[in-house]
Amino acid sequence: MGTELSKAVVDGVLTGGVYALMAAGLTLIFGVMEIINIAQGIFVVLAAYLSYVLQVHLGIDPFIGLLITMPLMFGVGVLIEWGFVRRLKEQNKSALSILVTFAVAIVIEGILTQLFSADLRIIKAWYVDKSLHVLGFYLPYIYLLGFVLAVVLLAALYLFLYRSRSGKSIRASVQNRTGAELIGININRVSAITFGIGAAVTAAGGMIFGATNSFNPNSGYDLISRLLVIVVLGGLGSIGGALVAAVAALVIEDVTAVLWSPIWASTMFFAVLVVVLLVRPNGLFGQTAVRAQ
C-alpha cells in the first residue's frame, strides 16, 4: 500500500502540472478582466487539434509545434476578445461573459466537428509511451516533460507580469482601471494581450492533454468544471495558486482513488474545496480586497 500511495502522490503531482497549464489562462483572464471564460475547455481541445494537425500532416514534434500553436492561440484569444468580450457592458460583464464565452465554445466545437468529425484522436510522439524507471517508479516522459513545461511557462508568465513593461500595464489595469487609463495605459490593448496570453498558455496545456488523453470536439465539457474549481481553490487571478491547487486537486483525487475508491475521488476534492472556502473564502491565494473602480 505504501508504494501504491507514493505512486499516487507522484502521479498527482505530475498530472497536476498539466492541469495547472490548462487552468493558468483561465485564472489570468479572470484576474485581469474579471471574465469567466467558459470557452477554456474548448481552447484546450482546439490547442490539442492544432498540435495534432502539425504532428500528423507536417510531422512536427508536439513540443516544437508549440512555437507555432502558441502564437496561433494568442491570435485566437485576441480575436475573441476583440470580437465578443470587448463589446460587453461593464456593469454585468462577469455574468454576461459566461454566456458569451459559452457561445464561443459552441461555435468552436461545431467548427471542429465539421473539420474532424466526432472521431477520437490522440497526439503521438516516440516519448508518449515511454517511461523513466527510477527508484521503482515508472515515470512517463510525457508527464515529466509536461510538468517541466508547466513550471517553465508559469515562471515565465510570472516574470512577464512582474518584470516587463507590458506586465506592469496589465497589473496596473488590475489594480485600478481608471487610474491606469488616466496615466495613458490602453485598457483595450491590455485586455486583448491578456486574453491572447491566456489562450497561448493553454496551447501548451492542450498539447499535453492531447498526448495523454483521447479527445474529440466534445472533450472540453468534462474539463471546464474541473478547471473552474481549480482556479477557485487557488484563488481567482493567482497563477501560483492555480499551480498549487491543480497539484493539490490531483493528489487528493489520486490518493482517494487508491485508499478508498475512484468514485469518491472527486467528492473528496470538492469536500476539501468547501472546507478551504469556509476558512479562506477567496481561495488559497486569493485576495480579500478588490480593486477600486
Binding site: I36, S94, V174, N218, L228, G240, P262, A289, V290, A292
Partner: protein, 433 residues
Amino acid sequence: MDQLVKGDEGYVKTPGGMRRWRAVAAIGAAALLAAACGSSGNSGSGSGSGSAKGPIKIGVSLSLTGDFSADGKAFQQGYQLWAKQINANGGLLGRQVSLDIVNDASSPVQVATNYQKLISVDHVDLVFGPFSTGLTKASSQVVNRYGYAFVEGAGGGPSVFTSGLHNVFDVSLPVANNLVSFAKWIAAMPASQRPKTAAYATQDDPFTAPQLDAARKILEPAGVQTVYNKTYPSETTDYSPIAAGIISAKADIVLVGTLLPDVSAFVKQFIQQNYNPKALIATAGPDQGAQFIQNVGANHTEGIMVPNGWYPTADNPGNADMVKAYIAQYGGTAADVSSDVPEAYSVGEVTAQAVTADGNLDQAKLIKELHSGTFDSVQGKVKFDSTGQNVDAFSFVFQWQGKDLVPFRPDANAVLTPVPPETRKIEYPKQNW
C-alpha cells in the same frame, strides 16, 4: 509564486468583497451550466407530419455531440445506410422512408424531450432508439406513454428490461452476457494454465458494470481471485489512479468496463508502466476498428480482446451488402466498420420486417408482431422474449491479431475456437507490449 491581484493602491476592503463573492457564485453557476449543458441543438432532416401518401417519417434521437458522440455518429451512419438501402428497393409499404434525426447531446434529459417532440409535435410514424443503455432507459418511458414501439440497438443493459415496459425491443446482444464466453473460457482452462488473479475496473455505467459483474461471478468460483475491483465515474478524465491500482494489484488478467477513451488510456498507462497482463478484455473500444488502432497505436493492439455479437465477414443475411455499402459511402475497409453501424442497421431491418408483416403502421399491431415474430438481421437471427431482449443473439470474443480483429466462439467445452474460415488460434498469454 505570488498573487497577481496585488498592490496597496486602489484596493478597498469589503463591501467590495461582495464582487468576489458574486464572481465565485457566477463561476459556480457556470460550472453547473457547463456540466449540465454539454451542448444542445438539433440537426433535424425533415419536417411536417407524415401523410399516407408522403414518406414514412422515422424519428430518432442520437448523441451527435457529448460523451457518446463517436458512437452516436456511427449509429447515424447505420440508420442512414439502412434508409438508403430500403428506399433504393422501393421503400416500406411502397413509401419512401425519411429519417428525422435530432441531437440529444448525450443528455438523459434532452433525449426524453426529443422523443416527446418527435411524437407529439412532429408526428413521426415510427421511432428508432438512441445510443446507450442510459439514454434508452431515459427515453423509453416517454415513448411507451404514447404507445409507440421502441426498437433499439444499443440499449442492452439489464436496467432497460426491468422497467416492466412492453414496447422496448433490443435487436442486439443483451449486454450482461457479453463477457460470459470469455469468463467461461478462462474458468474451463486446466488449473496449470488458468490465471490465479483478476482485476476489474468499470465506468459507473449501466452498459459496462453488469458485464463485469457477470464475469466475476463465473471467475471467482473457478478460483480466479479478485485482487482489484473498482468503479469510476463516467466523466473521469484522469485514469492514472485506476490504472495504477490495477498495476499494483499485479493481476494475471484484466477486465475493464470501458468505451474507447478509457480503454485507450488504460493501454497507454500499462505500456508506460511496463505492465503485461496475460489477457486484457474491454467491454467496448477495441471494436472501434480504425479509431482504436489510431488511439493505442497499431503495434499495441496485439492480443487485446473485446466481446461482440457481430463481425464484418459474418455470414448473416444482408451483412456483406451492408459492409460493401458502408465502404462505398464512407470509405475505408471492412475492419473500419464500427459495430455500432450494424446495430443501428438491424433496428431498421427488424422494424421493416414487422411493419411489412402487419401491412400498416399501427403501433399496437407492430408491438404484437415484434413480440411474436422471428426476424433476420445483419447481426443474425432476432427473437424477442417478453421483456424485449433478443434471445437468439450470441456473444463472440474478438482478439486483435496483426491488423485483424479475429472472431472466436466457444465450443462444447467452452474453449474459444476460431470462427471458420478463420484458422488462427487465440493468443494466450497475450504477448508483451
